[in-house]
């Protein structure tokens, strides 16, 4: 049995993680931006990430909303989101994506920079996402100590709120951030922006260990730099969630020109990552 038993702390997606852990493996989280290569094709991509090759893929899907000033993103995500914006993606497309993902049985979350939520209206955003089946929101640039309106909105619509911790975070900030999260906490494994890396970070197990020692009541996810099944297995040995983004997005590198091929690659990688996390805790 998973050690995570406080339902109020686990919310929607932490409960998904706890059930994966009960089954002897960490949860797999896949990120893709909505709107790339196009809004319609991104819906196919979201399905592929969940289904993998044989029905085994991501447990939780992060739906990224393209933003004009992506401070946290590396070039792979930045290039895709620039194209998605040029092709007319809108905030509301994330709700369609949430419906698409929810229909597959995986848990949809949205990852977005704060200004897009603020412009939409925090309460309205939370309401529309929740009614589309969304389960929570990850906000990489929102300080948990400066957002009372987001606490109100996410509480009012029963959405999980996930904030980030980093290797540079002090113990005090880790405690504050984890105390502010519902569902799980997103630990960045490296100092830097998003992007697949060839080797996993030495800092990853350290940040997971620190987070666990400070607050054992919610799961800890590791993201930034995971690109293949072996890395997923390695990280899944100690983290409760393994988060993959840029590597999945790279499967769509034909820019929509060869979508069947892209989806095949995407399904294959999702399957490989799912097998990786499945073998993480023999």
């Amino acid at each position: 049995m998973s050690s995570f038993t406080d339902a109020a702390r686990l919310g929607n997606t932490g409960a998904v993680v706890a059930s994966c852990l009960d089954a002897g493996r960490p949860a797999l989280v896949g990120y893709l931006p909505v709107g790339y290569p196009s809004v319609a094709q991104s819906m196919e991509a979201f399905r592929a990430v969940v289904e993998g090759e044989d029905g085994r893929g991501a447990d939780i899907v992060e739906i990224g909303i393209p933003y004009s000033d992506p401070l946290m993103d590396g070039l792979v995500i930045q290039h895709a989101t620039v194209k998605a914006r040029a092709r007319g993606v809108h905030t509301r497309d994330a709700f369609t994506a949430a419906e698409t993902v929810a229909a597959t049985g995986a848990a949809p979350m949205v990852m977005t920079y704060w200004n897009l939520i603020e412009a939409y209206g925090p309460d309205r955003f939370a309401r529309d996402l929740a009614s589309a089946g969304g389960r929570g929101v990850i906000t990489p640039d929102l300080p948990p100590d400066d957002c009372p309106e987001w606490f109100e909105a996410s509480d009012a619509h029963s959405l999980d709120r996930v904030f980030l911790i980093a290797p540079s975070s002090t113990d005090e900030r880790i405690a504050l951030t984890m105390g502010s999260c519902r569902g799980w906490v997103y630990a960045t494994s490296v100092m830097g922006v998003t992007g697949a890396r060839s080797a996993t970070s030495d800092a990853a197990p350290v940040i997971v260990g620190r987070a666990r020692a400070i607050d054992p009541t919610i799961p800890v996810g590791i993201g930034l730099g995971v690109s293949n099944g072996a890395q997923a297995a390695e990280i899944g040995g100690y983290a409760d969630l393994v988060i993959v983004g840029s590597a999945l997005l790279k499967c769509l590198d034909s820019d929509g020109a060869d979508m069947p091929g892209d989806l095949r690659r995407l399904r294959a990688l999702s399957g490989e990552l799912a097998a990786g996390v499945a073998s993480a805790r023999p």
Partner: protein, 411 residues
């Protein structure tokens, strides 16, 4: 109440909206700056550099000829253009470069639009032995080629940013991304009063020397406080520096002039307070040019230094409280003022500063109309010199770029 608060807020503006990886660095920077600011040896070192290296105090020039075109107003120019490297930017850079050394960091990165902040940063890095990389929008590297060359001569690496609008906004994004990765040994030397706390506060304190000096000079040499203080506003560092010590003087009107570009109605402008709305950009809540979904709208100005869709949060606060007034000035009006000041005073202003000169002229004419008996003194921050803008001015005025006549040749 003195602002910002401990958490970096100016009313509803300011804050620290950045990835968690930077929070520790911002806390470290706040602590380091507070310690330095309380340390007489830091001030002594900074003042020595300002005096012996940068050339402070900068004088106030009475623009007598230009004033004749400005109603009954007397235009006085606070000559930040006479600083070493040619702009007010050096005030901030020297302070932050000293801070970088105090924090034990060996590398600085910076973003720049017109290049003045980049040149100032490269200069301070050369002086203090710091490694330096400057991010610049690709469009700006083309319109400010002279400053790119100056930075390279000073030993800095200049990175052209090809993303987004390829201007200052995107250079700031790229610098922020660099900093997330290299924060251990690198200080992000932000050039304006924007970004996450403590930058708006820290840069203000370092630029405040402009108004501290100007206030003293006005009282000692020009018969008392000015009636109005004017400055151009992009991110707003020269303006906050020029305004700050006058904020508590209720008789002094504060005017910030934003870049209206081709006109607010054309959508091609950078008048953030005039035509923007509150949002979060580059780590702070402030006024932002954004669409209804919160996506930043690309700005436009003939001046690379004002071509930015955000503004420092303290300006957003001063505008909201009504303590300062912000008005837009078009490219055309700024270029007229550029030419007029050059021809009447023999001073070629930066195009940024020409916005403030144009705004001051308009204010003078308006005041004369409202009350012909008044003879107001308008103190303008001439934030930088125009050498860097010669190519832009050449294009704008359609100058031939060849001598007017050849004489003295042999038959």
């Amino acid at each position: 109440m003195s602002l910002p608060t401990d958490t970096g807020h100016f009313g509803q503006f300011g804050g620290r909206f950045v990835p968690e990886a930077l929070q520790a660095a911002l806390a470290e920077l706040t602590e380091a700056f507070d310690a330095a600011w309380a340390d007489p040896s830091y001030h002594a070192e900074l003042e020595k550099l300002q005096r012996d290296y940068s050339g402070r105090p900068t004088p106030i020039t009475v623009a007598e000829n230009f004033s004749r075109q400005c109603g009954n107003a007397t235009i006085l120019l606070k000559r930040e253009d006479l600083n070493h490297t040619g702009a007010h930017k050096i005030n901030n850079v020297l302070g932050q470069a000293l801070l970088t050394k105090r924090m034990g960091k060996t590398r600085v990165i910076a973003e720049t639009g017109a290049g003045q902040h980049g040149v100032a940063t490269a200069t301070a890095a050369a002086l203090l032995g710091l490694e330096c990389r400057v991010y610049m929008g690709e469009v700006d590297t083309q319109r400010q080629a002279l400053n790119v060359a100056r930075m390279q001569l000073l030993g800095a690496e200049v990175y052209a940013v090809a993303a987004g609008s390829r201007t200052l906004k995107d250079a700031m994004n790229e610098a922020m991304r660099d900093w997330v990765t290299t924060v251990e040994d690198t200080h992000y030397l932000i050039g304006t009063v924007g970004g996450p706390h403590p930058f708006p506060y820290l840069v203000r304190e370092l630029q405040r020397v402009i108004s501290t000096e100007a206030r003293r000079q006005m009282i000692a040499e020009h018969g008392g406080l000015p009636d109005y203080v004017a400055a151009c506003v992009g991110g707003g560092s020269n303006a906050i520096g020029m305004f700050y010590d006058f904020i508590e003087d209720p008789s002094v009107g504060l005017y910030g002039f934003e870049a209206e570009g081709e006109g607010i109605s054309t959508g091609r402008h950078a008048a953030t307070i005039t035509a923007g709305s509150p949002g979060v950009l580059h780590g702070a809540r402030t006024y932002v040019l954004q669409d209804e979904e919160g996506q930043t709208i690309e700005s436009h100005s003939i001046s690379a230094g004002l071509d930015y869709p955000g503004v420092g949060p303290e300006h957003a606060w001063l505008a909201t409280t009504g303590r300062a007034v912000y008005e837009p000035v078009t490219d055309a009006d700024a270029m007229d003022a550029f030419k007029q000041l050059t021809r009447t005073e023999g001073i070629i202003p930066a195009i940024e500063s020409a916005h403030a000169v144009a705004g001051a002229k308009r204010l003078g004419l308006r005041l004369a109309q409202e009350n012909p008996d008044l003879h107001p003194k308008i103190l303008v921050c001439l934030s930088g010199r125009g050498d860097k803008d010669v190519a832009t001015a050449f294009d704008w005025f359609g100058l031939p770029g060849v001598p007017d006549k050849t004489v003295g040749g042999l038959e």
